[in-house]
Amino acid sequence: MDDVLTFVFLMLAATLRVATPLVLCAMGGLFSERSGIIDVGLEGKMLMAAFFAAATASLTGSAWWGVVAAIVAAQAMALLHGFACITHRGNQVVSGVAINIVAAGLTVVLGTAWFNRGGQTPALVGDQRLMPLLLPNAGDNVLVYLALLSVPLTWWIVERTRFGLRLRAVGEMPLAVDTAGISVSWLRYRAVLLCGLFAGLAGAYLSIAQNAGFGRDMTAGQGFIALAAIIFGKWRPFPAFGACLLFGLLDAIAIRLQGVKVPGVGEVPVQLIQALPYLLTVFLLAGFIGRAVAPRAAGVPYAKEH
């Protein structure tokens, strides 16, 4: 009985560990997408944040400065996205792709130049990392709790505040918001900055909490899984959170099942389980599992004058 409990606890802890960056990232992306700014650049923002978190923590010796640097880095990328998509009405997908590619290159270029370790940052020790708070073996650092807190917070902001109401309106029909005398651009800028904030925390979690340092391409598609989770959750906070937990659980199972023969099935290919988040999202998008309807104005630049 104890074994079962231990196993369940370990699986839960593993799921939460994997899901934390997804949850943070998804909540950030949710703000951006609900305001009508598509964000395929979550991956890049998170990667930049992870790099600057580890680099700063390593140089200053403080994990907290690392978190600050992560947020600043991700918000800088978010502002760039906003500058291209809101101010200059550029293509949002192109901008996101550009941010991902720049981040993938720049983190390695800067990392190699500054630390001379082939793109890695020095291993972080002691106070340079965020340590578990209550349960030493579960990896429950402050960002895990923050991720759990971010879900009701996001829900409350989006569904229960005046800002949230306007945010949703601007994602559905910016003209109406503009007519009411509210600045579409300023609203959307605030949304992408919130997105940067959360993506920054997600990145910091990867490099200074879950791992002890930055490695090249360490996000490994998690930004896209977060994006999938947003879609899977139909652009709503709690369902998106559920999707993140599901994807996290799949990952935890994939690690557990590596090389294990399941009775009756044989060895389950790990790649299949890792591909499941993408596969499930495609099925959802195809309308086989309910219907995912994006905010109506998502991806459409708003021009004040025609």
């Binding site: 598509i38 395929v40 760039l80 500058f83 291209a84 998509c85 200059h88 009405r89 550029g90 293509n91 949002q92 997908v93 192109v94 901008s95 792709v97 550009a98 941010i99 991902n100 590619i101 720049v102 981040a103 993938a104 290159g105 720049l106 390695v108 270029v109 800067l110 190699t112 130049a113 500054w114 793109g119 598609g221 896209f224 994006l227 999938a228 879609i231 290919p269 790649q271 299949l272 890792q274 591909a275 993408y278 596969l279 999202t281 495609v282 998008l285 195809a286 309308g287 994006a294 004058e305």
Partner: protein, 371 residues
């Protein structure tokens, strides 16, 4: 603020604006090079010499160019239909799989004149098939093609890792790669071909796949601007309602555009596997699919522009490798940064320099501009 904007003259739109975009991207790269403590001008010199300084480097530049032409055309064909295909990476991967499977199955039986066209066809079919699913999902189920093609990139990567590690790995091999292709499935290297007609150049990865790229450019130009299907495809991209009114079936056109796009991306596998690696390997698309977006944007989705943009990207790729070799603080990934910045400036921020150019090139505003 409501000063009427006169449109830029066509030549400025086609020639000046892209150059301004590249200049801006290079300016930012210069700042980055400065930040990491190297000399930007020296870096630029090394980059240019590294890209076109010798017959070997020119060979490599053209070899990279070949890949960029394929993925650039792939993105462009979809663009013309109003579709954004970011799945070039996955389509190239699966196209390569098709090419590799055809070769592994038949290279012991077929001579080169049969084997090579068949493998090229297989690459096109597999690439097209991988693009057909997101296309079908968009056309019939209404799911957004950007998201599904992203997902299909990851699915392709997972599938390939599984196949290479568990199924296609050569017996006794430690790394996940297939057995070597037989000689009949090898596309001749350019230096061998040139040597046969008496021209001696240094060996490089450049192979006759570049002819396929030239053929594709011509084919895409012919198809888009000189066939009724191409006309219908472009109409759909400009105005779907008008296309429907003209009797175009948007669903079929979506399928056609995406399948063509996927087939073109799949040819990266031909250049990489039959031209260079001579076996099925992992990770050969190496970002060409994404860079294709930049190539198409810079080349304004026209085959001629794409060739020029692909040459630039090929030169960057090769020059960047040499640069990384010469200056240890600069790594190869600098090329990735440059590619990303070019996508940013010639794609997302393409509108930024337009008012500046308008100010310079057509300074008279107001009265004369509007009638």
């Amino acid at each position: 603020m409501s000063v009427p904007r006169r449109p830029l003259p066509a030549w400025a739109e086609i020639a000046v604006l892209p150059l301004v975009n590249i200049a801006l991207a290079l300016l930012v790269v210069g700042v980055i090079v400065r930040v990491i403590g190297a000399d930007p001008l020296q870096a630029l010199k090394l980059l240019v010499v590294g890209a076109i300084g010798s017959s070997e480097s020119i060979g490599y530049t053209l070899y990279y160019t070949t890949n960029f032409v394929f993925t650039g055309l792939a993105v462009a064909v979809a663009f013309h239909a109003g579709l954004f295909n970011i799945g070039g990476e996955g389509q190239a991967y699966i196209g390569g799989l098709g090419c590799g499977l055809a070769v592994l199955a038949l290279d012991r039986f077929l001579p080169a004149p049969l084997m090579i066209p068949l493998a090229i066809l297989a690459a096109a079919l597999f690439g097209a098939a991988w693009a057909a699913v997101p296309a079908w999902l968009q056309a019939w189920r209404g799911s957004h093609i950007v998201i599904t093609t992203i997902m299909f990139n990851f699915l392709a990567a997972a599938l390939m890792v599984y196949l290479m590690v568990n199924v296609l790995i050569a017996p006794g091999s430690m790394t996940p790669q297939s057995r070597g292709f037989a000689a009949s499935a090898s596309i001749p290297a350019m230096h061998d071909v040139l040597a046969a007609i008496g021209i001696r150049v240094a060996p490089s990865a450049l192979n006759l796949s570049i002819l396929l790229a030239v053929l594709c450019c011509f084919g895409v130009w012919l198809f888009l601007w000189h066939t009724p299907w191409g006309y219908a495809l472009r109409t759909m991209g400009h105005n779907p309602d008008a296309a429907v009114y003209a009797g175009t079936n948007l669903r079929h056109m979506t399928m056609l555009a995406m399948c063509l796009s996927g087939a073109l991306a799949g040819f990266v596998g031909v250049n990489e596997l039959m031209g260079v690696h001579h076996r099925l390997v992992l990770d050969f698309p190496a970002g060409y699919g994404f860079a294709g977006i930049a190539v198409a944007l810079m080349g304004r989705s026209h085959p001629l522009g794409i060739v020029l943009a692909a040459l630039l990207f090929g030169a960057l790729q090769q020059g960047g490798a040499e640069l990384a070799f010469e200056i240890p603080t600069i790594t190869r990934e600098m090329v990735v940064v440059i590619q990303g910045l070019i996508i940013l400036f010639s794609g997302a921020l393409v509108n930024m320099p337009r008012p500046w150019l308008q100010l310079i090139l057509s300074p008279r505003r107001g009265g004369e501009g509007v009638k």
